[in-house]
Symmetry: C2
Subunit: 514 residues, 2 copies
């Protein structure tokens, strides 16, 4: 993602933004991975400078070994699971992965250089989105499936009564095994606040849910799951780290006014019975209001939208997403660099000062007169204080830079998925404009076109409601992120000041001859 000038003496591997590296080891620790470049050179690379493009190893090797499906041809003992893509039980998984392998330059639009898959619009067309726009689908959506959009002073918004808000904890990861211990995995315990009943979910369940949400909610960017990782999967740190990101991921979904109340999400959060789980799973996979057809479920305001106004809003938002993508990458890189500096050079600088003071105190210790002894003790204590400040610098990033980087990482994921969502809208309005042209050419009637425009408005209303939701969430999130970051920085410098004040206090009592 970024240029990295590695220190070859320290075994680091240099690379440029855009280089493709093969990751050899991910369990080095301290934010380093081992990688090999195209020239076959190996070395350490900072993990936040690279991004996993695609790998069959991303998939749990026990992917298809429970839930009954495919258990007759279990791949136990087949690491990597290359033979799994074609199984089709989690249908969307394969096309999604193929989508991510598309080159960004293969299909470009005004959404520009944001790297992502650009096949959502074709999916939209394939899955019946175009059919929705052209009125070729029925609209007998049951009331329970309907999603309301309301007009507010700040534009269209998802309707969500406060009474329906809830939270959900992700906790207590447990190592479980099956097939007489041949296979083991980690199960996380989820407890929604509305039921207080705990359900046990594995990473693959999250992954299935993610696929379902992405397929269904055509105008809602769903944050990617935390990165998959094969090596060291059961190590305590890794499990805790993954759990933290799963909690963040769940937090965002339970806050979402549409997703939080969707049947598939509630099924995921509440189902404890294995038979019912499979039923609900199959039902979700057969959901007829997925993709383009999702717009059938929207109850948008009747008022027609001004197409130029909508276009202008989309253009601005698109710019926002692209710029914010860059800002988030930049800030993340700066924070990564800052935390490396804190743990390395900053710590070293203060430790060097501490060591110099302590060495001076060792010499001063030769003079055993009372006032000299007091000074020696005070300087030695100052040396300790600077050494401790050095250690504070080393311990600080998990309190300030890392949490900020975690949140930025989450936003990076959301922003990456946004171009897909915007392309759905772009495709729909493009089609609507085609229809207006067709009307001018006498190929469509005004009544037909008005119906198309109304349906295009529904897509616009949904997209705008989600954009407004994104902005509201962004303001809340960044307010909190900045507050947490600044509070932690303030605490850090206050603690440092306290250490120095304590050190200074040791000099007050030194009795020097007049």
């Amino acid at each position: 993602m970024y240029d990295f000038e590695g220190d070859a003496d320290n075994g680091e591997l240099s690379f440029y933004s855009g280089d493709v590296l093969t990751i050899i080891r991910q369990d080095i620790g301290d934010g380093w991975w081992e990688a090999r470049n195209a020239q076959g050179e190996q070395g350490l690379v900072p993990e936040t400078y690279v991004e996993i493009m695609s790998s069959v190893e991303e998939w749990d090797d026990d992917w298809d070994s429970d839930d009954g499906e495919g258990s007759s041809n279990s791949t136990v003992g087949t690491p990597g699971g290359q033979d799994l893509q074609g199984q089709g039980n989690f249908g969307l998984a394969a096309p999604r992965r193929e989508g991510k392998q598309l080159s960004p330059s293969a299909e470009m639009s005004k959404y520009g250089t944001v790297k992502s898959s650009f096949n959502r619009f074709s999916t939209f067309a394939k899955t019946g989105g175009e059919a929705f726009l052209m009125g070729e689908v029925d609209k007998n959506v049951p009331e329970s499936d309907r999603i309301r959009i309301i007009e507010t002073a700040e534009g269209p918004r998802w309707y969500c009564p406060d009474s329906q808000r809830y939270t959900c904890s992700v906790a207590s990861p447990k190592k479980e095994s099956k097939m007489k211990g041949l296979k083991s995995y980690i199960a996380y315990q989820l407890t929604p606040s509305f039921s207080n009943i705990q359900v046990s979910r594995r990473y693959k369940h999250f992954d299935w849910l993610h696929g379902q949400l992405e397929s269904k909610f055509a105008c809602i960017p769903v944050a990617p799951l935390p990165d998959k990782q094969v090596t060291g999967r059961y190590e305590e740190d890794f499990v805790q780290e993954r759990m933290k990101f799963l909690q963040m991921w769940v937090d965002r979904l339970v806050r979402h006014p549409v997703i939080s109340r969707s049947e598939v999400f509630l099924h995921f959060l509440t189902c404890t019975d294995e038979r019912k789980w499979k039923q609900g799973k199959r039902k979700a996979e057969k959901d007829e209001y997925q993709g383009g057809k999702f717009f059938l479920t929207l109850s948008a305001p009747q008022q027609a939208l001004d197409m130029r106004d909508v276009d202008a809003k989309m253009e601005l938002f698109c710019k926002f997403v692209m710029n914010m993508t860059e800002n988030v990458k930049q800030l993340n890189a700066v924070m990564h660099d800052y935390s490396k500096k804190q743990m390395g050079p900053f710590k070293r600088e203060y430790t060097k000062i501490g060591t110099s003071f302590k060495q001076l105190a060792m010499t001063f210790n030769i003079d055993t007169t009372e006032s000299s002894k007091q000074l020696t003790a005070a300087i030695d204590h100052t040396g300790d204080a600077y050494n401790e400040i050095g250690n504070m610098f080393e311990r600080q990033p998990p309190s300030d830079a890392y949490p900020l980087m975690d949140s930025l990482h989450e936003y990076k994921g959301i922003l990456q998925t946004y171009p897909d969502v915007l392309k759905v809208h772009e495709g729909a309005t493009g089609k609507a404009k085609d229809c207006l042209k067709a009307q001018e050419e006498g190929k469509m009637t005004e009544a037909e076109v008005n119906k198309v425009l109304a349906r295009a408005d529904t897509i616009s209303y949904g997209t705008l409601a989600e954009m407004n939701n994104f902005q509201t969430e962004r303001v809340k999130d960044f307010k909190l992120m900045m507050q947490l970051y600044l509070r932690s920085q303030i605490k850090f410098y206050q603690d440092m000041t306290k250490k120095l004040e304590d050190a200074l206090g040791h000099y007050d009592s030194i009795q020097t001859p007049s």
Copy 2:
């Protein structure tokens, strides 16, 4: 003095501790000089990593052009003044400079590797020190010239009644000229607290005084004067910097119980009449109690000293001086490095954070809803705060590292002159031991030897009194240095905390939708 790994791309010149470089330019600024190594390579070197060994250019080019002496063969217009060494009006200057060119390895003793001239003992012998020890000089010292040493719980000390303490300010540097403006120089105004009468002194007067003090007080290390510098001599910064160091130098002398009351020093501080100045100057230069004969003026306690006890004390103190010399160099190098880091990488790190926040705010500015605008303003303000913190890091060294480095520099000078003083004592006790041996061999009578031993004790008393004075001053000085350093550091981190608290405050008022 230290290894320096320069960045050749930045035009820096690498060298090792001990390398001899030729300084080409001293007016580069920011602590850099331009130098050439033995291989003819040129580049920038950090001035605190090197020390001026010897140079004819150290001498003011108007050295002998006033005070009437030698004015008939004035060297106006002869820069460098290579022809000045033999003029002898400031007799001690020449041998002192020659002394500094002696290789440290030429004459080694237990004072080991401390680099300095080692010809003091021979000077001591030459100037009548050995004669003093052997009783070949009369002792009719007038009462007014007598210096008392008293025994205290912490050993022998110079007697100095509090009533005789005073201070002296060095201020108001004025550019003056003579010979119809052909020559100009800076005169500093000195005002002793006991008279409150201002006297005007040039650097060359300070240099003359320094030479007199060094020649006279055989057991007292006199701090070197601040470095001489030819280029940019009248620039405001240089003058202020030199004045600061002259003030430090005078401060140390007025605090010294012996020097502060010496005739030559008081003459320097008080004489306003040009004719009397020359008289006093000549009198000081002809002072018969200089060098070894200085010990004639000491009124030491009668009690005989235990030679082994004195030897042990000297050995320990010698170790102290050597270790402290290393500590001071080390701490100075660390502080130099720390201040460079503060002004460079530390500042850059905080500026990078500030810039990233401000760039994020620029993107967020696209969303003009009220709560977003409030967040944007807060983040922009946080960006400003980090930029200001970056600037604070850049401005900080003059408040903490530099004052500490100035004091360390002064101590480095004092410690460098100490081996000379200790060698005087070593020579005296060595001679006393020779006499004891001569007594055993029947070559000297017990009465003769006892007189020698009593006179050796006088030298020991003087040396011990000065050592105790040094240690008392050291405790006072380092207490103050550390307090100033820590207070400045505390203020710095408090100011930083305030900036961050102010930034944090901007988030509290952001109204986010529930």
